[in-house]
């Protein structure tokens, strides 16, 4: 960690070469790339030291991570497939963050979304595929949206801390999933692993032509761009950011803060619910406990690393998707446990939050001072 910090501190020597006008205009944006980037490198360095403690060569680690994430077309497809739900679950944290709320229950909304989408597909099993798929999208988004809206509503109208309530709702969602999958919705033929009936091959959303990457990636990209436009280029988004900055000021100018909170939380949950729908309709084909794969929790990290900016979420989700895609290769080639991806994610998260202290302190980015 310290080496990268030292790098940024030594950099002023290079600064005079840069055009001060350029720095004045873009210094702030550069900061938003440089600091999380440095934190990421620092985290990779710490993780390299960590695996070195267990007798593995860090250079091998970096090589296999690159190979497993971006080395071949196959690993790229694996990475992008994992990035799709991460974009959507990250939006579940990033959108409420505009209102100053810390929602960490994306995993719960994903599970409820997946469950609602499966239920919709099973109910409409004789309808044409397009109708079934549309119904799944709607059901998934509504299910997930209501789930997070519950956390938002409790915060707004009962003063219940939304961070804790949204996390509790994850465990409740998991219980609801297990309850239905082993009870009312269980396919009697699924013996070892209780699951619902399959939604049927014709109803699966399939892959983008020419790739093995499913359409969920496009859903994610569209959602991220739409969220960006909503937050930064609409009156609604402006109102949300005003309320996030200062609730009292928002009330004075006549904004209905309660409605803002509920709407934003609904949209956020709908994104995570859509991720659940995608996992069912493009990967699993049915609902079972496999759905709780931790995309919701990694999404929190993606949102924080992207500094809650919907557009920045896209590259960060690809990066984190790459890290999780490389987990298999690390397991096979280096004999690292599958939890090593979790450790690295934890280190990255800690490093990124610690790097918050650096904003506005990099002297070489302040032109003329």
């Amino acid at each position: 960690m310290s080496s990268e910090v030292a790098d940024s501190a030594e950099a002023p020597a290079l600064a005079p070469a840069a055009d001060p006008g350029f720095l004045q205009r873009f210094g702030g944006s550069i900061e938003y790339i440089l600091i999380p980037g440095a934190a990421l490198l620092a985290a990779l360095a710490v993780f390299g030291g960590f695996v070195a403690l267990f007798g593995k060569n860090p250079l091998d680690l970096y090589f296999y991570m690159y190979q497993g994430a971006f080395g071949t077309w196959f690993s790229w497809q694996n990475t992008l497939t994992r990035a799709a739900p991460l974009i959507l679950t990250a939006l579940c944290t990033a959108l409420p963050a505009q209102l100053g709320m810390v929602i960490i229950g994306g995993e719960g909304a994903l599970l409820i979304g997946a469950l609602s989408a499966t239920a919709a597909a099973l109910m409409l099993s004789s309808a044409p595929p397009l109708v079934v798929q549309l119904a799944m999208v709607c059901a998934g988004m509504i299910g997930g949206g209501l789930w997070i809206m519950l956390a938002g509503g409790l915060r707004q109208y009962r003063g219940v801390n939304e961070t804790i309530s949204s996390l509790l709702l994850v465990y409740i969602a998991l219980a609801v999933l297990n309850h239905l999958v082993e009870g009312a919705m269980r396919d009697p033929a699924s013996l070892n692993k209780p699951s619902t009936r399959e939604i049927g091959a014709v109803n699966m959303i399939g892959s983008i032509p020419g790739t093995d990457v499913h359409w969920g990636l496009v859903f994610g990209l569209v959602a991220a761009v739409a969220a960006y436009v909503l937050i930064y280029h609409t009156v609604f988004g402006f109102a949300a950011r005003v309320a996030g900055g200062n609730v009292r000021a928002a009330r004075i100018v006549g904004l209905d803060v309660g409605r803002l909170v509920l709407t934003v939380c609904f949209i956020a949950g709908a994104c995570a619910g859509l991720a659940g729908m995608v996992e069912v309709a493009a990967v699993q084909g049915r609902a079972n406990a496999n759905l709780a794969a931790g995309y919701g929790f990694t999404g929190i990290l993606v949102a924080f690393l992207a500094r809650q900016n919907p557009l920045a979420i896209i590259p960060v989700a690809v990066l984190l998707g790459g890290i999780s895609a490389s987990g298999g290769l690390l397991q096979r080639r280096l004999g690292l446990p599958d939890a090593s991806v979790l450790v690295l994610q934890g280190i990255i998260f800690v490093a990124v939050l610690g790097s918050d202290a650096l904003y506005g302190r990099l002297r070489f980015l302040k032109a003329g001072s």
């Binding site: 801390n161 996390l167 979790l342 934890g346 280190i347 939050l353 918050d356």
Partner: protein, 308 residues
């Protein structure tokens, strides 16, 4: 009765026994979090600390053969994670809630990583004191086998209550939590006080984790803790930052968490997963009832970021 079966009485008895058995991790985590939050900082990472504590306790107990060394190791691991939390939070403009979430992921990941080789072997477990010797009924005896850690927690709660009111350290922690300016004016470093409070909180949460792997359920696996840590953090809020109320709330939670297994033992299996979610539903329900958007909670430390 004669053949040792007690029919439906099994359920309340198992809930009672469960309240004592299951409540211990809740109790230790909530007492630890109580100390941390009283100093004006919230550590949501105790979920990770709990898992890390469970893993370290199991590992050390297996390697040394002494479960008590395992408990100590769990405490130290927890204190180190607490120090990491406090260290990052002392940097300017760092949000303690976010750091807590990060450490929740980090602690769990690290425990899973280091704990991989520990899933197979069996480590020596903590002893229990048999308070049920007077009874012939197996269920009564099972319910009254009480672990020493629970008794320790039972003593710790009133001790902390007393310490917060009367000792110098208790006053300092409360001052840091109520007004960091006042503590600073008295010449104390708020960051140093919070560092120690977070480390002690982590130490206790680690011990809570050691109970999970060394007594009940009594083995190490990756599904060991499912939200007990975060539930305990929520529990502190409706216990109004009062150690004695933390004790009663933990007991209530233990009882709620024991409901599912207890009902299963008498053949009610239909809502098993829903009954397992009882502690989370209970937490949410109590938070809904006791919180209010109009006023800050009574007893809340004024410096705490979630109540400000």
């Amino acid at each position: 009765m004669a053949d040792g079966t007690i029919g439906l009485w099994t359920v309340p008895l198992a809930v009672f026994g469960g309240a004592i058995r299951v409540s211990t991790p809740f109790l230790f985590v909530s007492l630890g979090e109580c100390i941390t939050e009283r100093s004006g900082r919230i550590n949501l990472g105790l979920e990770g600390t709990l898992v890390m504590g469970a893993m370290s306790a199991y590992g050390i107990s297996y390697l040394t053969g002494s479960p008590w060394l395992g408990v100590l190791a769990a405490g130290i691991a927890g204190a180190l994670l607490g120090a990491l939390h406090a260290g990052i939070c002392s940097l300017p403009r760092v949000n303690d809630i976010a750091v807590g979430i990060a450490l929740m992921l980090f602690g769990t990941g690290l425990a899973f990583y280091l704990g991989k080789p520990l899933i197979e072997p069996t480590a020596p477990r903590l002893p229990a004191i048999d308070f049920g010797w007077w009874s012939d009924i197996a269920q009564v005896r099972a319910a009254l086998r009480i672990n020493v850690l629970f008794l320790l927690g039972l003593v710790l709660a009133p001790l902390l209550y007393w310490a917060f009111r009367t000792t110098r350290w208790g006053l300092l922690i409360r001052t840091a939590g109520e007004s960091s300016d006042a503590a600073r004016a008295m010449g104390y470093s708020v960051l140093a006080i919070r560092l120690r409070a977070t480390m002690v909180g982590g130490f206790l949460a680690g011990i809570g984790g050691s109970f999970l792997s060394l007594f009940y359920p009594g083995s190490w696996n990756e599904g060991l803790s499912s939200g007990q840590g975060i539930t305990a953090v929520a529990l502190v809020i409706f216990a109004r930052w009062d150690p004695m109320l933390c004790l009663w709330a933990s007991l209530a939670f233990g009882g709620a968490a024991a409901l599912g297994p207890a009902l299963q033992s008498v053949g009610v299996t239909s809502g098993y997963h829903l009954f397992n979610a009882a502690p989370y539903i209970l937490t949410l329900a109590i938070m809904i009832i006791t919180c209010s958007p109009k006023r800050t909670l009574t007893g809340a430390p004024a410096e705490l970021s979630i109540t400000r």
